[in-house]
């Protein structure tokens, strides 16, 4: 029983990593109705910027704010410079653009900061909780994730700009008719997604260490969490992230024989099974297509 509790707790701790990045995934999905493969690399780069600021002597929260602000600007700029001109092209072409962006950011970060791992500070300390299964940093990270989620909920539900963004993503033509500047809404979505990604990266780095390839696996699990919970639901995505963390742990611990070696494939198979039953994720809204 202790093992079970520990595995669930440690799953939640790992799940917080996925949940954090899943929020960024949902954000961009709300803006462009698609997933951004370069999201993890953007977050990694933002985290390096925060790290670099701290190396130059900027205090933690100063570096935090600089990184998040710069990321927001960079997100908007990437949309304006790279993806806006592609606007009319097929979504498949956009995905090729994401792949290009991934390659560029990863390679540039590797050149500037090389590939050795770097420790990243945390404002929440590293006190072990529950016998060390969760550290105080990880607890802090869960709180940050939930707070971000709350803010996003309020933003999308109650602010004009949030509502306009949702309208622009789901029904761009109708949004345009009611006077929403769809182009800028998309850019804003990119900016917000990049900023959330920066926060996610800064939260994740103390656990997994900072290096250019740090986000490869994380983004993958973030996608899985977001899709499992439902891409159209920020709360669902966060819940999905936590579920993936716990599910994966329990698979690795309790399925005898191949469970350990195959915990990822088994967890993925379960998630695909969930999607087959609930094609829009557990908490996503059903999309109706008109003929």
């Amino acid at each position: 029983m202790e093992l079970f509790t520990n595995q669930v707790l440690s799953g939640i701790a790992t799940g917080a990593i996925y949940a954090c990045i899943a929020l960024a995934v949902v954000m961009i999905y709300e803006a462009i109705d698609h997933l951004n493969f370069a999201q993890g690399e953007m977050a990694m780069f933002s985290t390096f910027i925060a790290w670099q600021c701290m190396q130059w002597g900027v205090p933690y929260w100063g570096a935090f704010v600089i990184s998040v602000a710069l990321s927001f600007v960079a997100g908007v700029a990437i949309e304006r410079v790279l993806f806006r001109p592609l606007g009319h092209a097929s979504i498949l072409v956009h995905i090729a653009g994401f792949i290009a962006l991934f390659a560029i950011i990863n390679s540039v970060a590797g050149l500037i900061w090389d590939f050795t791992i770097k420790p990243f500070p945390t404002p929440f300390g590293a006190t072990p909780l529950f016998g060390g299964v969760i550290s105080s940093h990880q607890a802090g990270m869960i709180v940050v994730t939930l707070a971000l989620l709350g803010l996003l909920y309020l933003f999308f539900r109650f602010t004009r700009i949030g509502l306009a963004m949702r309208a622009a993503a789901t029904t761009p033509d109708s949004a345009r008719l009611v006077g929403v500047n769809v182009g800028w809404m998309i850019a804003l979505g990119w900016g917000l997604a990049a900023a959330i990604g920066a926060i996610a990266g800064i939260m994740i780095a103390p656990v997994i260490f900072l290096e250019p390839n740090m986000m490869g696996g994380v983004l993958l699990y973030g996608f899985v969490g977001a899709v499992l919970g439902g891409l159209s639901s920020p709360a669902g995505a966060v819940a999905g992230g936590f579920m993936v963390g716990v599910l994966e742990n329990l698979t690795g611990t309790y399925i005898p024989g191949v469970g350990n070696e195959l915990k990822l494939p088994i967890a993925l198979a379960m998630i695909v099974a969930v999607l087959v039953l609930k094609p829009n994720g557990l908490f996503g809204r059903t999309q109706v297509q008109r003929v």
């Binding site: 202790e2 093992l3 520990n6 595995q7 440690s10 799953g11 701790a13 790992t14 990593i17 390659a103 390679s107 590797g110 090389d114 590939f115 050795t116 791992i117 770097k118 420790p119 590293a126 072990p128 016998g131 060390g132 299964v133 550290s135 994740i204 656990v207 997994i208 260490f209 290096e211 250019p212 390839n213 740090m214 490869g216 696996g217 994380v218 993958l220 699990y221 994966e248 742990n249 690795g252 611990t253 350990n260 070696e261 990822l264």
Partner: protein, 409 residues
């Protein structure tokens, strides 16, 4: 016996035949194969400069810088090294493509320090069929020491399997009734160590109470550590690459688990593993080393380390000297240069292999005192000894004898 002494009788294998042919000719006469001329020696290499293993690309960059230094100092016997290194992205098909380009299009004399077990396995048969040296491969699999079947392939670093055996034997001596937990990376590197440990434990392999493998795509290994701890083990084999090693060391400390902790040589860098994980969390960890750690204060005034730093200052200033790959690249390059020096004006592929197989007590700048490079026609494992080390304070403390792989057979 040494087949070099009896060249006409020792026709045991293709290697021996090759050695016999070149062994009979006078060294004074200039002899060249493709890739060598009066002014140039072409050396090929493949490295994962991009992709998931791009962290190791530093080795290629270090080698390149080192050969620049050699060229700036006049080259080897008057010849400049032309080092051609291609990116294989750690993908075996790409490795085959790039190596064929090196051999058939760039026409290199030899392929030096190609990285990764899968990539090297993919190119080994091709290079042996073409009789092109595949020298000092950058992987610790035991299979590169097989001169009978692959006379054109040679390893360099101590192999993972033997190192695993050494750890197991150490543990049996120190803690005969240990309950053992193992964390390993699910690839050739992890499996080789695992096999070495199990063979080393021999009849006591049943003392392994928990075993867990991870994929490199996993963000953290935290949950594996939680699981391993709950098995009640009091000894822990940490068979991981640097990032995961640092995570594991940190998590073990957070869980207040105090096993006898054995860490692989791959991840013993103070600068890029121990410091990120927190030196206070790494006290008492046991590992085995053959190279000096660049961030270990005990080598501050070491003459080899000084030469290394001078090299970095002039030829590779952008290097991160705490990266263990830089030290690796530096020493493997020195080994290559020694072989080329020994080959003199006889730059045939046969003679390159012959010289690579006759290194005697070579000490490159970064090798630990007492560890020497030795090869022979039947021993294609240049570095086959290590010394156990224990982390104490801020540095690794060496203890016990130099352990050679022969002692573990």
């Amino acid at each position: 016996m040494s087949i070099n002494l009896r060249p006409h009788l020792g026709v045991l294998s293709a290697a021996a035949l090759a050695l016999a042919v070149s062994g009979g000719t006078a060294l004074a006469q200039k002899k060249y194969d493709t890739g060598a001329t009066d002014t140039e020696i072409k050396i090929g290499n493949i490295m994962p400069y991009s992709g998931p293993a791009s962290a190791y690309g530093v080795i290629g960059k270090t080698i390149d810088a080192y050969f620049k230094k050699i060229n700036a100092e006049g080259g080897i016997n008057g010849r400049k090294i032309n080092f051609i290194s291609y990116d294989d992205g750690y993908s075996p098909p790409k490795a085959v493509e790039q190596v064929r380009k090196l051999v058939e299009s760039d026409e290199v004399l030899l392929v030096f320090d190609p990285l990764g077990t899968p990539s090297n396995t993919a190119i080994q048969r091709y290079l042996n069929q073409r009789k092109v040296p595949q020298l000092f491969v950058a992987t610790g699999a035991a299979k590169w020491d097989d001169p009978k079947n692959f006379p054109w392939t040679m390893g360099w670093q101590p192999n993972y399997y033997t190192e695993g055996k050494i750890y197991a034997q150490y543990l049996l001596k120190e803690k005969p009734n240990a309950k053992i937990a193992i964390l390993y990376q699910n690839d050739d590197f992890g499996k080789d160590y695992l096999k070495g440990i199990k063979d080393g434990l021999g009849g006591k392999a049943n003392q392994i109470v928990a075993e867990s493998s991870y994929e490199v795509t996993e963000p953290t290994v935290d949950s594996h550590i939680v699981k391993l701890k709950s098995s009640g083990a009091d000894a822990f084999f940490n068979i991981t690459t640097p990032k995961f090693a640092a995570q594991a060391i940190k998590k073990v400390a957070e869980l207040d688990w105090k096993p006898t902790h054995l860490l692989t040589n791959v991840s013993l860098s103070i600068g890029s593993v121990i410091k990120p994980a927190g030196p206070q969390n790494a006290q008492g960890i046991i590992s085995a080393a053959y190279l000096k750690d660049t961030s270990d204060p005990q080598w501050k005034d070491d003459s080899g380390m000084k030469k290394f730093d001078e090299f970095l200052k002039t030829y590779y200033p952008e290097a991160n000297r705490i990266d263990a790959s830089v030290m690796f690249g530096y020493n493997v390059s020195q080994t290559m240069v020694q072989v080329l020096k020994q080959a003199g004006d006889n730059l045939t592929r046969e003679n390159i292999m012959k010289q690579a197989a006759s290194l005697k007590n070579l000490e490159t700048d970064g090798l630990l005192p007492g560890i020497k490079i030795n090869t022979s026609a039947t021993d294609f494992a240049p570095i086959s000894s290590v010394q156990l080390i224990r982390f104490k304070g801020e540095a690794w403390e060496r203890f016990g004898d130099i352990l050679s792989s022969d002692a573990t057979h």
